[in-house]
Symmetry: C2
Subunit: 244 residues, 2 copies
């Protein structure tokens, strides 16, 4: 354990959608001042969050890369998937806890907003109550995506539905039919199913695909024209509510 | 008109939920450098967006306050309401257009994210195509609200529904029953109706009220305990999706 009276804080810092200057002033200050940073990444890849802060870290920073033990090798429905991830999150949390108990502040770099479909939540629930944890909210990928289309997502009394493309096709179609504005995340391999669902809801001609929002590769196109989509994609339909 | 070849740009700059250091680095730079700023406000009030940038503006900045001609004196359903606002937005847009045509850049200060239920959209649609317009996305009030509750809003495959409390009670109840995670905006005088709808959906004990997210007056409480709520309030229910 620690001989210091005051534990450090684990900061879950949202970095926003991808451009370094879309980070909040608070996040920018925490990242530049950090003596310890931690970041999730997939095997063999640097990780989007780490890429965003390239050139911002202190020369003497200590990095703790957290490599997911599985991504798509095991299906989500397999209990082995949850088991592997649970052990992984427990190990990562234990390491961050030791650092904090030793008096060190740690910045965990998070894509988007940490509490909106983020991996940091799995550390947060394991660290809360044990050591101080602070979360910095951020611009979501969907905010950048609708900004990139050059049209507002919601007006007046519009209802917005945010759904993952991993849902069954009939549930997607039902929800898409029943909402004013729509954001769909986690596209990737679910694109064909999603297009079918949006067509079944009679709204394919209203839908846009935004690839790599706020990144140099950003691309906006009608969903009808898209045959493939990378994981960092968002599909959206703009609300058409009241506008004086 | 202008004798300059290059028109200025109207920047719709999202300032985020209320704390100055939750503004993006890009917004911070634009606000501090602005020679012209414009901001919506209600009669007799400074406006939340203007308050956020207090102390950040240049000494020689030229301010263009845009005072809403009506707020609650005329009901939303009255055609006179839409007419008054349409004229107001047209006048504001014309002024900003003249500035831009004269070569001046203008920063329009926007609470939250400009394209998410924001007033800037009404200027954007009137200025687009006439002069260059750029939008800076921002942290939404709802991101700050769920961060303030200390719990993630969405996990795994959760569906999130964002709805205004201005909807009819039965529609609110139906949608609240049919979603994993919930965010309700525009609370104010609709609080009693919203509580009834959430109770009808059987979820009152899961709901939280966040008042003045990211402002000094911020307060988080179970919705069941709340009898009144200011306009700057958000009600939310956290998703309970997959978590290894």
């Amino acid at each position: 354990m620690s001989t210091r009276a005051t534990p450090g804080t684990v900061h879950g810092v949202g970095l926003g959608p991808g451009a370094a200057d879309l980070m909040s002033v608070r996040a920018d200050r925490l990242v530049r001042g950090a003596s310890h940073v931690a970041c999730f990444h997939k095997r063999g890849k640097q990780g989007q969050a780490r890429r965003i802060v390239e050139g911002m870290l202190r020369a003497d920073v200590v990095e703790f890369p957290m490599e997911y033990p599985v991504t798509t090798e095991i299906p989500l429905s397999d209990p082995a998937y949850a088991q592997a991830l649970a052990g992984f999150y427990a190990d990562c949390a234990a390491h961050l806890r030791r650092l904090a108990e030793g008096g060190e502040d740690v910045v965990v770099l998070c894509e988007g907003d940490p509490f909106f479909y983020g991996s940091f939540m799995h550390l947060y629930t394991r660290l809360s109550g044990a050591v101080p944890v602070q979360v910095v909210p951020a611009i979501t990928g969907m905010s950048e995506a609708w900004t990139a289309t050059g049209a507002p997502i919601t007006w007046g009394d519009d209802v917005l539905t945010v759904a993952p493309a991993t849902l069954p096709a009939d549930e997607l179609a039902r929800r898409i039919k029943d909402t004013d504005a729509l954001v769909v995340m986690k596209i990737g391999g679910n694109l064909a199913k999603l297009k079918t669902a949006i067509e079944a809801a009679g709204r394919l001609h209203q839908a846009w695909l935004v690839e790599y929002a706020a990144m140099p590769e950003q691309r906006v196109m009608p969903l009808a024209d898209a045959d493939t989509a990378p994981y960092f994609s968002i599909v959206l339909i703009h609300g058409q509510g009241r506008r004086p």
